[in-house]
Symmetry: C2
Subunit: 158 residues, 2 copies
DNA sequence: TCTATATGGTAAAGTTACTTTACTATATAG
DNA sequence: CTATATAGTAAAGTAACTTTACCATATAGA
């Protein structure tokens, strides 16, 4: 039994350091909580993380729902819900795609345009704060490594 | 208007690369989806990410609910719910803390003990796969950087 | 010693961010 | 010109929490 116990303790220790997944989850939550809390006070629009996740994938000409869903790695129904809320908040609008009668293009409104410009500032601000504390080099490296990790994930299914 | 448009395009481009938060969210989701999918097939226990998040924080002697909540960065009520499910699945058990009549200690059952040893194998397997693809150096560095980021987050509130 | 307050935990309902299942409308290939 | 694929919508369900409210025990101070 003594040997088994030691084995177990080593396993637990391994779990602690091995769980990159848990590290990612916690870091993501903390980062976004801060961004949302900060951004909320900036303008009257209370945008939650799910909303801001859309913006990086929107092109100026407009982007299809299905395209958004693919890029974001969620279902198109989920995109529909998020976009609907942003439409109600008058940040985005949906216009018919002239090249396909079924499709709709999601686009910024003038107000959304201004809000997003502000939002970028908030994000940069938060990243700069961490950069100051941890070093710009670490932040840049983290971003590069995460991008590579995502590319590898996307590359191979299951 | 032309100048504003260019400005906007640059802002969007910046959003794409600047959103470390979004990178973290996506990486976390993908990583854990894979781990859960893999682990589920291993044993009959269908453990979800919320469940496995508890394990790294459990000591062999038993850990208090409040301690778990603090370490995990969630409310003690949330811990209560997760532990209740794991208790029903007979992976964990709650025993009264002899040193404090209010407190309870969360501990592994014999079955949970074995399941977690298996689970460690799955996690290591997945990390090794990415290590093989991206290089062990990148994975180790990512883990170190995330740990530092979390420490910095924890250090300063808001 | 007894009251005030802090701490450990539980209970129930609400919220966020999705997914699943089930459709309708338009497009395209044969 | 039917058969199937694709774009999107609708409604309900689920996971992983939080908020609000509470009870039980502990402990420090009057």
């Amino acid at each position: 039994m003594a040997k088994t116990r030691r084995e177990f303790e080593r396993a637990l220790e391994a779990a602690k350091s091995a769980s990159t997944g848990q590290l990612l989850i916690r870091a993501a939550r903390l980062f976004n909580e801060r961004a949302v809390a900060r951004g909320r006070t900036l303008r009257g629009l209370d945008l939650r993380p799910a909303h801001t996740a859309v913006f990086p994938h929107l092109s100026l000409e407009g982007t299809r729902m299905t395209t958004l869903a693919e890029k974001m790695g969620i279902t198109k129904q989920a995109v529909g819900q998020i976009v609907a809320e942003l439409e109600r908040a008058e940040v985005l609008c949906r216009v018919p795609d002239p090249s396909d009668g079924r499709a709709k293009l999601v686009r910024f409104t003038a107000a959304g345009y201004r809000a997003v410009l502000d939002g970028m500032g908030v994000l940069r601000e938060i990243e700069n704060e961490f950069g100051a504390e941890l070093g710009e080099a670490l932040m840049a490296r983290l971003k590069r490594d995460l991008t590579k990790l995502l590319a590898a994930f996307e590359g191979a299914a299951s």
